[in-house]
Symmetry: C2
Amino acid sequence: MGRWEPNAVQRLQQAAWKLFAERGYADVTVTEIAERAGLTKRSFFNHFADKREVLFAGAQGFEADILGYLAETDADAEPIDAAIAALTRGGLDLTPYREPARIRRGLIASSTELQERNLIKMASLTAAIAEALGERRVPARTAAFAAQAAVAAFDAAYDDWAADATADFSALMRQALSDLRHAVDAAHDEEPPQS
Amino acid sequence: MGRWEPNAVQRLQQAAWKLFAERGYADVTVTEIAERAGLTKRSFFNHFADKREVLFAGAQGFEADILGYLAETDADAEPIDAAIAALTRGGLDLTPYREPARIRRGLIASSTELQERNLIKMASLTAAIAEALGERRVPARTAAFAAQAAVAAFDAAYDDWAADATADFSALMRQALSDLRHAVDAAHDEEPPQS
DNA sequence: CCGGTGAGTGCACCTGGTGCCATCAGTGAT
DNA sequence: ATCACTGATGGCACCAGGTGCACTCACCGG
């Protein structure tokens, strides 16, 4: 393990975050990020596949965590309940990082490039969950739809959580799932959800 | 209205499709597309925002059609049923274009760039449907989830239709919606869906 | 015949991204 | 000490996507 200044990846991420926060994603150049981290453009691309990736560093680990939590759920539970449980635990892990989450959210909203990347990360998460559910004795279709529904609920809850500093993430997930079922259910006798 | 060779946009699309089909998306350059259409790179970008967009030309019109169909549905229907009805009609309109749909599908599968673009187009469609549903007296949350569910069902049905030449799209949509409800429902007394 | 309009073009330029090879810090073995 | 090795880094040339700007030129209407 060679050693120059350590933690090149971290330094690049920090530099990128600062610059993006200062001047917005589009107006920052990869060369600038690298130089602020004491490196070069070439080294940036040795660590990140492209400019967008520097903002989605956590995604891979998050996906792995979710799959871990999913494996811990009761194997006989309904697929969607298992997925919701796993995503709820994963979301709770993010609780300490509300401020970065808000900044990231703003950046993504400002750039269609980043929106696309975000969507494909969510799709990747969904696919991974669906595959894991598929290893239980569940039809692939059911697994895929359950995963999509669970991730949709997560996404909504995550957004609410980013917007409302006082909210409890578990409660937001429960509410989102309930709203989702309400929206999808054919039989529709109860009140519409408030808000 | 000035006149050179007419239909520049069409010519560019046709040239792009042919070249992509021959050599794959990644190995074709914008300059090549433009030249095969008798134009220049600069003109290509006067007509399309970027290289990806040439494959998604129909998306805007499709979205508009769906919104039109949605407006024709019974205003008192369940949001998800209205969305499903509109998407079913839209899907039926595509029936004559199965072969192009299959090619497009293969191209998209081969390039993450195109997958990202595809996802954002679907997201745009979803958002448009959700907004339209929101103008009925439906909570925004319900509208959003209903739209997501309906588009998810459409996507699954569309995939099935592209894969199976003998399938009836309406039936595929009904099946997809049924599977979706099965996957999302809490109360789960019936058989799992076959397939 | 004349001025306007708008599609198409030429060109210079920027940035993201890659292939290839050189370099150089530390590591473990001799 | 020294040497071979490894892996992070850097330099460089190069490509493709994409943009700003000024220009041409076919056609239009008067």
